[in-house]
Amino acid sequence: MKIRSTIAALLVAATFASCSKNDSGTPVPENPGNYILAVTPAASTGVADYLLTAGSLETGSISTAGNGIEQDGTYRYYVTTNNKFFSLLYGQGNPGAVTAYDVKDGKLNKLTNFQTETVQAFAPVKDDLLLFKISRSTETPLSNWYKVNTNSLLITSEGTTNTLQLSGNGEMAHFSWIKQIGDKVYAPYFTIIDRTFATNYPDEASIAVFNYADMKLEKVIKDTRTSFIGRYFTDGLALTENNDVYAFSASVAAKGGVLTSTKPSAITRIKSGTTEFDQSYFFNFEDVSGGMNITNWMYLGNNNFIVNATTKAEKGAYTIGKTIGIVNVVNKTFQKVTGMPATADMVSLTFSNYTPKDGKTGYIGVNLKDGTSYVYKIDAATQTATQGLKVEGGSITSIQFLN
């Protein structure tokens, strides 16, 4: 009996010894609201994203500890359109799983799952979500597009575009992003030799213009004053209130791992009602900023943009700039904002941010080295950044808003 109880005791002891739980301090309760934040725990790899709600981006705190809807997979992208929030998996060779949500009583409410392809560009166009799966091999020059109806949440049609023919230079045209402009779809592109993304044409900008809904190629707009528009997975176009289109070039064309463009990072324009670059407009960003280049931007309205920029030393094809500034495209001004944390304290800035489009306000996610993250309110009028909502237990990958 003594032995049996010893064994039992040992087993029980082993069980209890193992119960030293994570001591995570006071739990942060749910924060119901219409803002949706996607948060990735800092455990870098092999983790899920969590979708959290917040009532305000300017105060309070949220945490992934015990809260949030777990998203299957790390490489996720988020888009809001037609009053729905879409969570898309970038599955490289896998089908792209998509989950659609709306917000009810400040909480995310799952509408449906559906499946698309893993795509390299997607954007709301009218009632659809237009997706582009872009070929990287000249041997198979057809790139596929898919339309997902945001009411029925089904793929309603699909087709192909010959992106080798499109470029006309023997390289594959690769759309940096797609955007609805009027009743057309504009698709700025760079050209690539193969899947290394190298190019022999670093000094030109091109935009393919498609009819909608038949996706027929209407024309290609070209400009040789800049390198290509936007960057891989980055929207380089913006439509202002008077229907002018502005485009930025990061000037990050490369070959053999070396940046090869001789053109500066700059902003160009397509005047409303035209489908040509406005040769009378050129905003040399490198000159104004003292040698920096734009990596991405967000349009606030009233010709004002929040831009992320890198210094010459930081410049890279996939680097997201940690310098935040305000650009006015009409006045051709650039001013850095004050109040941001020191660059050395930041791990990353959120790529997909929120603006109410009031002409001056934007909210961007700032992920700090100490593991906490904050939403910063950027005021374009005063060029200031103010610390707002605190996010614990992960870095912010997307900030969205849904009524």
Binding site: I3, R4, T6, I7, L10, A14, S18, C19, S20, K21, N22, D23, S24, P41, A42, A43, S44, G46, V47, A48, Y50, T64, A65, G66, N67, G68, I69, E70, D72, G73, T74, Y75, L89, G91, Q92, G93, N94, T112, N113, F114, Q115, T116, E117, S135, R136, S137, T140, L142, S143, Y146, L153, L154, V347, L368, K369, D370, G371, E392, G393, G394
Partner: protein, 776 residues
């Protein structure tokens, strides 16, 4: 009785002679067997609970025994327990002698019967469990299926016959656990020869080492090892079996050996597996055209056929003066595998497949007492086989089997990559027994891997060097008093050189490990085992370079180092001769740095091995078995393991990680087995036996991702499956008919990242066995 009275009288006489002082008395005596030889290591117990052991001469002595009346009991393995009474008076030395009777004479009173090799293995200093494979010969189990029933073990398969597998042992998984066949590492045998496609009949027994792995299994195993003993059961025999069952599954095995009087021997093992694996799965199946899901659809797998055919032939001599065994052999085999899914079930394929073959010459040499006390074992093999990854269709499939064109990059990644891993192993093992108790073992294992291949569809991308060489040198010393205690101390020196990357940069790592393992018999039926080891686990070739399938390579994977402590207890007892019990319990504690684990890659398409700075494992497993007479056997095992992430900082961050001290995700942490079998003898006719068995598997639910994060979480639900089997043996096992029902409740069983396993299946197994005890 007469003898006892006589002895008592003699003892009493002795008292009167030696009554000298007023100090406490003492008792001495001798234990001999019925033929008069001394019995060493017998347990001698005084009534009050003090005990001692006899020495080699069978002598024992109790000092400082207070005066009084005593019962004294002698027990020894293989002998009947005997009890005597005597009185000790102050200052006197009492003398009492025992002549113990051989237990085999009287089977009914035996609590510990003579041990088979299986039980003998269980009594080593190392924490080892042996599975008697012979008891499973009439089932359709493969080696992995048999191992799944051992406490502390979870075999995780990605599907049905021939699927990828991953074994976890006390919280260690993947290549923490190493596999051996007759002591030869199986590291690089290729896909045609793996523990989940080798039938159980090839083995004599399976040894499962938890924690410390003995030096003679020279390896850098960190969590444990599994050694498959094929054994030389009979010099001349034929054992053939065939089974057919659900999902169009056919398996056959033929094992045979012929040996002449002069010792010339030919041994053949041939086996074949074939299955369509077209079992139904429950999936959210998306329509290929609209993207709409049909939630919870029950659909048949449609692209999962697997077959392999393997022949192992050995020719040589046995029982010669210069060699107990000298065999030259070759393993020939091929396999074909359709790949139904990626690392997750959402990615479904309809044409991607793999072909592989194995051409492996082998050498085996063994000689006990080459010089007096010196045993030598040498093994070598080199795999010339190749594998081809075939993904040529530019389409996307859905779960309904429909497809449509999809870009340019194949189903996963367009490929016709054919490669050879060029792997070889050479092992040398020297064991020198200095005397009956002490021995020194020296072992060296060298492995080499050099993947070379070409892909006509992707020229130029396949010439990156993928080379790794490893050498493990081990030295151990053992001290062993049979059935009392044994101890081993050992050290291991590991060298690894990897060439990876575009510039083929080579990196060399050297690691030193050491440890101690000890086992002690408190009583002949109660054994305690404990071990400590500082151990190193080098990245494996498949982890560094990937498997070209669902495992992605990680060239920057670091070696893992771990401090392991194990404690085990084993106790056998009987309430009465009919009701016998066996209880085993183990506790483990492990603190690992650079813990190697499998996670999904960022886009969920493949698994990838990665390091965590630190992981602590605390756990325990237990087993209890009960038998009633010869015909009823019931057992249960349970395992609990808590793996805690101790990586405090994530790369690039200075703050404490949100998953610091969190439980490691997607690792089963509580699971168990229960089984019952009934053996009925002489059913129908004399010599015909009927066995009915039942097995239950339980796995507690666990989370797919970090447990502390999120409120609405994805999990792998609780799993319970029931297997039954019925075997009818005719003519003392010459002909056998088995019927097996697996997962009879048709429960949903999941594995690796929620991949589903087969539902209910039934299998019929026919086996013929004959052996000649006399030589030809």
């Amino acid at each position: 009785m007469q003898f006892r009275k006589f002895l008592l009288l003699a003892v009493l006489c002795a008292y009167s002679i030696f009554t000298l002082a007023q100090s406490p008395g003492s008792i001495r005596g001798k234990v001999i067997n019925s033929s008069g030889a001394p019995v060493g290591a017998a347990t001698v117990m005084l009534q009050q609970g003090t005990g001692t052991m006899t020495d080699e001469q069978g002598l024992f002595l109790f000092k400082a025994v207070p005066s009084g009346y005593y019962q004294i009991t002698v027990s020894a393995v293989g002998f009947k327990t005997q009890q005597k009474e005597l009185t000790v008076s102050a200052g006197n030395q009492a003398e009492v002698h025992f002549t113990v009777k051989d237990a085999a004479v009287n089977m009914e009173t035996v609590t510990v019967t003579g041990r088979s090799a299986v039980k003998e293995t269980n009594r080593q200093a190392f924490n080892v469990t042996a599975v008697d494979a012979k008891k499973l010969y009439n089932t359709t189990l493969d080696l992995a299926g048999a191992l799944d029933r051992v406490s502390g073990i979870r075999v995780r398969e990605s599907g049905g016959v021939g699927s990828n597998f991953n074994l976890s042992l006390n919280g260690f998984s993947g290549n923490h656990v190493r596999y051996f066949i007759d002591g030869i590492p199986m590291d690089n045998f290729g896909s045609s020869f793996q523990i989940n496609n080798i039938p159980i009949n090839i083995a004599d027994r399976l040894e499962v080492y938890k924690g410390v792995v003995p030096i003679w299994l020279g390896s850098d195993a960190l969590g444990g090892a599994i050694n498959i003993i094929t054994g030389d059961r009979y010099r001349n025999y034929v054992d053939a079996s065939y089974s057919y069952g659900s999902f169009n599954t056919h398996r056959s095995v033929i094992n045979a050996a012929a040996t002449t009087k002069s010792g010339f021997t030919v041994q053949l093992n041939a086996f074949q597996n074939f299955s369509d694996n077209d079992y139904k799965v429950k999936v959210d199946a998306a329509d290929i055209n609209t993207g709409a899901y049909t939630p919870g659809a029950y659909l048949r797998r449609f692209h999962d056929q697997y077959h392999n055919e393997t022949l192992i032939a050995n020719i040589g001599v046995v029982d010669k003066s210069y060699a107990d065994k000298l065999l030259f052999g070759i393993t020939l085999g091929k396999n074909y595998k359709e790949i139904q899914t990626g690392a997750r079930m959402v990615s479904v394929f309809g044409a991607w497949h793999r072909r592989g073959d194995i051409v492996m010459p082998t050498l085996k040499y063994k000689k006990v007492d080459l010089l007096k006390g010196l045993d030598v074992t040498i093994n070598a093999n080199y795999n010339l086989g190749s594998e081809t990854n075939i993904d040529t269709m530019n389409v996307r499939y859905d779960w309904f089997g429909n497809s449509k064109p999809n870009g340019s990059n194949g189903e996963r990644a367009r490929s016709l990559y054919k490669y050879k891993n060029n792997n070889g192993i050479a092992t040398t093992m020297l064991n020198y027994r200095m005397d009956g108790r002490q021995s020194i073992a020296l072992s060296n294992v060298f492995t080499t891997f050099n993947r070379k291949g070409a892909d006509p569809l992707n020229p130029g991308t396949d010439d990156l060097p993928a080379k790794t060489q490893k050498n493990v040198l081990g030295l151990g010393y053992s001290y062993d008093i049979k059935d009392k205690w044994s101890t081993s101390v050992f050290g291991k020196y590991i060298y690894q050189n990897n060439s990876t990357g575009t510039n083929g940069s080579a990196a060399t790592t050297n690691k030193l490990g050491y440890g101690i393992a000890t086992a002690y018999f408190l009583t002949p039926n109660l054994q305690i085992k404990s071990s400590y080891e500082l151990t190193n686990r080098m990245p494996e070739a498949q982890e560094i370079f990937g498997d070209i399938e669902n495992q992605e390579g990680n060239p920057s994977l670091k070696p893992e180092q771990s401090n392991n402590v194990n404690l085990g207890l084993s106790y056998a007892f009987a309430i009465n001769p009919s009701n016998k019990f066996q209880v085993n319990a183990n506790a483990i504690y492990r603190q690992a740095t650079n813990f190697i684990y499998n996670r999904l890659n960022n886009n969920q398409s493949k698994l990838v091995a990665d390091n965590r700075d630190g992981v602590r494992t605390v756990g325990g497993d237990g087993e209890i078995r009960y038998s009633y007479k010869q015909w009823l056997n019931i057992g249960a095992t349970a395992t609990y393991q808590y793996l805690q992430n101790l990586q405090k900082y994530e790369p690039g961050y200075s703050g404490v990680s949100p998953v610091y001290k969190d439980q490691m995700p997607n690792i089963p942490y509580f699971f168990g087995n229960a089984d019952a079998s009934v053996s009925l003898r002489n059913v129908g006719a004399r010599g015909n036996n009927l066995n009915i068995g039942y097995n239950l598997l339980y796995v507690h639910a666990f989370y797919l991702y970090w447990p502390s994060r999120g409120g609405d979480k994805l999990d792998i639900p609780q799993q319970i499956s029931h297997d039954i089997n019925l075997v009818y043996s005719v003519k003392n096992g010459r002909y056998n008919i088995g019927i097996e029902g697996r997962n009879i409740a048709d429960a949903l069983l999941y594995d690796n990242f929620s991949l589903q396993k087969p539902g209910r299946g039934f299998y019929l197994n026919l086996r013929y066995f004959i052996n000649k005890t006399t030589n030809n």
